[in-house]
Structures are given as structure tokens and as C-alpha cells.
């Protein structure tokens, strides 16, 4: 509710917002700055907000302790393939469910929607057994296939369908007059117009894959095949205690690409995710 406010009320409001923002912003700030501090300064109290003697020393050690470049590449390519795969699968299915009245489309849509009710945590035991019998344990296949076809992709299909339903059919008339087939109508007319929905699906499926943790922990055992979330937990010393400076450098690097995209494309990012209403 928007009402005019006095100067003092505004000040109180700003103060409240600043105070509330601390637990949201400080951890990230602290992660980035501490990764540049020498190990003893990380524990200093009061915590220094800026490294006294910034050094990239811990960043170098990340690559000594683990095949981090390989793990980084794994996360990147898996998230990229999952994103492209989800976009293709969900836009095709979403388009067909919105536009083509083939017999049984309602029943088939319901069959697919069931996937929304079944988080992959519920099916992890049989999934393990299936991938095991296909010889796909300790490979990246489960991390690619399950998100591209499972619950996240079902949500994406739902979003694409809603979008295509709202898109006026008349737009396709001209194309149909020109004798375009279904695939051409989809690829050349509908798809270029659906950029906002595709953007939302892309951001959401990339983030989902990037953050995936249970699946890599269950399916992967070789460090060279790990993805970032799993790799981040492995930086421990001989006694099992975390090596904080190395771990924070690795954590900072893992957060970097998404945070950069967030800063550049903030609006699309926020609205895209709000659009998908992903789980929290």
C-alpha cells in the first residue's frame, strides 16, 4: 500500500531495510573477501571487511588439492547440456499441448504432470538401480537425463504450454497460408516469439543443475567426475577439518558465473525465476 511518508518515517524504513539486508548480503561479501585473506586473518575478530593484504594464494592451492578445473568444466558442461535439453524437450511438448488437439492430449498431459508430484529424492533408489544396470554409475548420464526429463523439465513444459496458450493463434495463420508444416510453425514462428518463457526456463534449469547435490553424491565416486557442489565439500585437511581459505576460494569461484549473470541480467533473472516459481 503506497502512502506518503514523513522524513522520519522514511529514515526508520531505510534503517530497517539496511538491517534486514545484512544476513542476506554479508555471507556473500564475507566469502569473497575472505577468499583473498591469508588463513590467519579469516579468523580475526572483529572480521575485517576488506583483506589487509589481499592475495590469490588460496586460489592457487584450490587447483593443487583437487582436479578443480576439471570439476568446474564438468559442472559447466552438464548445466549447459541440461539447459539446452530442457529447452528443446519442454518447448516441443509445451507447444504440442497448447496447439495441437491430438486424441488423448489431456490424458498424456496428466501423465506428464504426475512428475511434478514426484521429486527425484523419492525415486533415487530405483534410479540408482536403473543406471547401475545400464553401466552408468560414476558417469554423468544420470545428472543429464534425470533433470532433462524429470520434475524440473515437467515444470518447464507446464510453463511453455501456458506461454503458447497465451500466444494468439492468428500469428501462425500467415505461416500456415504459406504452407508451413507444424515443425516449421513451431521453429520459425512460435519459438522466436517465446523468448521470455525460454529465458525463464533456461535460468531455472541451469540453476537447478548447477546446485544439484544429492544426485552427484549418490552417482559419482571419482573426484575427476565430481561437479562443483560436491567438490566444494572435499577441501579438508589430514584431520578432516575444513581448509577454510581454500574452501572459500573454491566456493567463490563456484558462485562467480551465476552471480555475474545475475548482476548483468538482473531483471530477466528475477522475473524469470518468479515466473517459474521454483521450489524453496
Amino acid at each position: 500500500m503506497k502512502t506518503e511518508r514523513s522524513g522520519r518515517a522514511k529514515l526508520v524504513l531505510y534503517g530497517l531495510l539496511c538491517l534486514l539486508a545484512v544476513p542476506f548480503v554479508f555471507p556473500t561479501w564475507w566469502m569473497v573477501t575472505s577468499s583473498l585473506k591469508p588463513a590467519n586473518e579469516i579468523f580475526a575478530f572483529p572480521p575485517s571487511l576488506w583483506p589487509g593484504d589481499p592475495s590469490l594464494d588460496a586460489y592457487g592451492r584450490v587447483f593443487d588439492f583437487a582436479p578443480f578445473a576439471q570439476q568446474y568444466f564438468n559442472s559447466m558442461y552438464i548445466a549447459a547440456v541440461v539447459t539446452v535439453g530442457t529447452l528443446a524437450v519442454s518447448s516441443l511438448a509445451g507447444y504440442a499441448f497448447a496447439r495441437i488437439r491430438f486424441p488423448g492430449h489431456n490424458a498424456l498431459f496428466l501423465v506428464i504432470l504426475v512428475g511434478l508430484l514426484i521429486p527425484s529424492e523419492v525415486t533415487i533408489v530405483p534410479l540408482f538401480q536403473m543406471f547401475n544396470s545400464w553401466g552408468m554409475i560414476d558417469t554423468h548420464w544420470p545428472l543429464l537425463l534425470v533433470p532433462i526429463f524429470g520434475a524440473p523439465s515437467v515444470l518447464a513444459t507446464l510453463i511453455m504450454r501456458q506461454f503458447f496458450i497465451a500466444l494468439p493463434v492468428e500469428i501462425e495463420e500467415a505461416g500456415r497460408m504459406d504452407g508451413l508444416g507444424r515443425f516449421a510453425l513451431y521453429a520459425r514462428i512460435a519459438l522466436p516469439l517465446s523468448r521470455p518463457a525460454l529465458g525463464a526456463v533456461a535460468i531455472f534449469s541451469f540453476l537447478h543443475s548447477w546446485n544439484l547435490y544429492l544426485e552427484p553424491v549418490v552417482f559419482l565416486s571419482t573426484p575427476e567426475k565430481f561437479t562443483l557442489p560436491q567438490a566444494l565439500t572435499q577441501f579438508v585437511d589430514a584431520y578432516g577439518g575444513p581448509m577454510w581459505d581454500v574452501q572459500l576460494s573454491a566456493a567463490t569461484m563456484s558462485a562467480l558465473p551465476v552471480v555475474i549473470v545475475f548482476v548483468i541480467a538482473q531483471r530477466q533473472f528475477v522475473e524469470g525465476l518468479a515466473h517459474t516459481g521454483i521450489k524453496g
Binding site: 500500500m1 503506497k2 506518503e4 511518508r5 524504513l13 531505510y14 531495510l17 539486508a21 544476513p23 548480503v25 555471507p27 556473500t28 524437450v89 519442454s90 516441443l92 511438448a93 504440442a96 495441437i100 488437439r101 491430438f102 512428475g115 508430484l117 521429486p119 529424492e121 523419492v122 525415486t123 533415487i124 533408489v125 530405483p126 540408482f128 538401480q129 536403473m130 534425470v146 532433462i148 526429463f149 524429470g150 500456415r176 504459406d178 504452407g179 508444416g181 507444424r182 540453476l207 546446485n211 547435490y213 544429492l214 553424491v217 557442489p229 560436491q230 566444494l232 565439500t233 566456493a251 563456484s254 558462485a255 551465476v258 545475475f262 533473472f269 528475477v270 518468479a274 516459481g277 524453496g280
Partner: protein, 319 residues
């Protein structure tokens, strides 16, 4: 499809309604081609859903009737033995209590904080976009990275207790106490994702017609009354949507618990997903793991259906 086919394709489309009468032969082929396209378009998603969602779901039920230890290599039909074991499992009441506490705490804190932040950001105030970005920013940070940082801040000599001692109180060793560990995992998870619900609420608040507030102000309604009588009913569809998403999401939380507490201290933060993981992948007991999966599925299903039913009661309007 050739150019000559186009008009018939059009006719085929128009006569698609039930009782449309016999169609010209050429129209049939074009229509058939269109229907075939429909099936081909949905095929990847449909086959994928069957293979990676529905078949595994059926298998979960099937496995739950078996004694199956992966290490020993045993696989034997044992009827309802796993379910009897579930009912008698001395750890289960604690696990369910932890799951209920975690989910209830997470949903309550997440939704109320999201709504409070959205109301604050919906004021006529410069710079709210900046604050929206700040509150949303943890969503962009890798989940495990966010959790690792909090594990550091929550140590006995970490940043949170440093801050508390600066204002003159001694903080507990957060991750070592049963209650405080539970509070910690809830708060860390809420801070990570509350920005999503906040944005949803903000969009809903901006859709509430201004005239409603003006009318009620003329009636002399106070700020709180206006919030309760106008805002909440008007955004109730969004409240329902976000609460369903948040409840189901809360039952899937695994990484944060694994990294922050490992289910401890004791079993105080061992929620159902974590217990399932331990049984199946640490104790290699797939049969009992599958039984716990069935329980998890049942809980997700019941909660979703119950909330969906509740919409009739308190959601004022839909779309």
C-alpha cells in the same frame, strides 16, 4: 508439406470439432500429419517421464516389499516386512518430528518473512529496487557455497557469535546444540531462497487495485486492518501457490543438512530425506530405503492434496 496442401490443411483444422462430418481425403492426410506431429513433439517428454519418473515410482513400491541389501547381494520378496519394520523403527518418530519441525519452521519463517519484505518493498520509497536485489542475491549463490559460508559463520568462534559478543551476549555453539542446530538449518535455508517468494508476493501486492485501499481509508480502517481485510484476501492465490511450493521444497532439503550438520547432533536434524539417504546409500539397505521413499511420497502427496483442498476455504478468488 507443399503449397497446394495448405488450404486443405486449413480445412482439416476447422473441421476438427466433434461431429465435424466427413472430411475430404486430402484433408485427412494433412490432419493426420498434424496429429503425428503432435505425438512426435510430446514423445521425448512423455517417454522421458515414463522412464525416469513413472517406472522408478512403480519400482519404489515394488522394492519396498523386498529385503534388499546391496552389499550382501540379497534380494528377496518379504511382503510387508519392511512396513512392519517401519512401524517399529525406534528412530522413525525422531526423524518424523525433525521433518515436521524443519518443514513447519521453514514454511512459517519463509512465508512470513517473504510477505514482510514484500510489504516493505512495496512502499513509495526510492531505492527499493536496490533492496530487492540484495534480498534476492543469495538465490544466485551456489547452494553449497552459501551453506559452507554459514557453517563457518556459525562455528563457536565464528562471525555470528563474534557479533553477539560485540553486543554483550554469548552465543551458543550453534551447530552442536540440538535446538540451535535446527534453528540454524532453517534460517540458513530461508535466507537462501526467501527472495523468490518475496518477488512473487511483491508482484501480487502490486496487482491489488489501489481504489480498495482508498475506499477503506475513507471508512477509517487502520493499517493493520487494511492489511488483514484487503491485502491478505487479495493475494491469497499467491499465498496458496507459494505455500505449496515451499512445503514440497522443504521436504527435499538435503544438501544444507548434509553440509551444515550431517543430520546431527545426534539425530536432531535427520529429516526424512536424509534418513532415506543414510539407509539406502550409507547402510546399503535398498529395501528399507525404498520403503522410506514410499513414506516420503505419501507425505508429499497428502500435503499437496490437503493444501489444494484448502483453497476452497480461504482463497478468495482465482485468477
Amino acid at each position: 508439406m507443399s503449397r497446394a496442401d495448405a488450404p486443405t490443411a486449413e480445412t482439416g483444422r476447422r473441421t476438427r470439432r466433434p461431429g465435424g462430418g466427413p472430411r475430404p481425403r486430402k484433408g485427412w492426410t494433412a490432419r493426420r500429419r498434424d496429429l503425428l506431429a503432435g505425438y512426435l513433439f510430446v514423445a521425448p517428454q512423455l517417454l522421458g517421464s515414463v522412464l525416469f519418473v513413472l517406472v522408478p515410482l512403480a519400482l519404489v513400491f515394488w522394492y519396498s516389499f523386498h529385503e534388499w541389501n546391496v552389499l550382501v547381494g540379497s534380494f528377496e520378496f518379504t511382503g510387508t516386512a519392511n512396513y512392519e519394520r517401519l512401524a517399529a523403527d525406534p528412530a522413525l518418530p525422531g526423524v518424523l518430528a525433525a521433518t515436521a519441525t524443519f518443514s513447519a519452521g521453514l514454511v512459517a519463517l519463509n512465508l512470513s518473512l517473504a510477505l514482510a519484505l514484500a510489504v516493505l518493498l512495496n512502499q513509495k520509497l526510492r531505492g527499493t529496487v536496490v533492496f530487492r536485489t540484495l534480498f534476492f542475491s543469495p538465490v544466485a549463490v551456489t547452494l553449497v557455497a552459501w551453506t559452507i559460508v554459514w557453517r563457518f559463520l556459525l562455528q563457536d568462534d565464528g562471525g555470528v557469535n563474534g557479533l553477539l559478543s560485540a553486543i554483550g551476549t554469548d552465543g551458543p555453539n550453534w551447530l552442536r546444540g540440538e535446538t540451535t542446530a535446527m534453528i540454524a538449518v532453517i534460517v540458513v535455508q530461508v535466507l537462501k531462497n526467501v527472495g523468490l517468494n518475496m518477488v512473487l508476493f511483491l508482484a501480487a501486492l502490486q496487482g491489488v487495485p489501489h481504489e480498495l485501499y482508498e475506499a477503506s481509508m475513507l471508512d477509517g480502517a487502520g493499517r493493520w486492518t487494511r492489511f488483514r481485510r484487503i491485502t491478505v484476501p487479495m493475494i491469497s492465490p499467491t499465498i496458496l501457490l507459494t505455500s505449496i511450493i515451499t512445503v514440497v521444497g522443504s521436504l527435499q532439503v538435503f544438501a544444507q543438512i548434509d553440509v551444515l550438520t550431517g543430520g546431527g547432533p545426534g539425530t536432531s536434524t535427520t529429516v526424512l530425506v536424509y534418513y532415506l539417504y543414510q539407509n539406502a546409500f550409507q547402510f546399503h539397505d535398498f529395501g528399507y530405503g525404498a520403503t522410506l521413499s514410499v513414506l516420503l511420497f505419501a507425505i508429499v502427496l497428502v500435503l499437496t492434496v490437503v493444501q489444494w483442498q484448502m483453497r476452497r476455504k480461504w482463497v478468495v478468488h482465482e485468477d
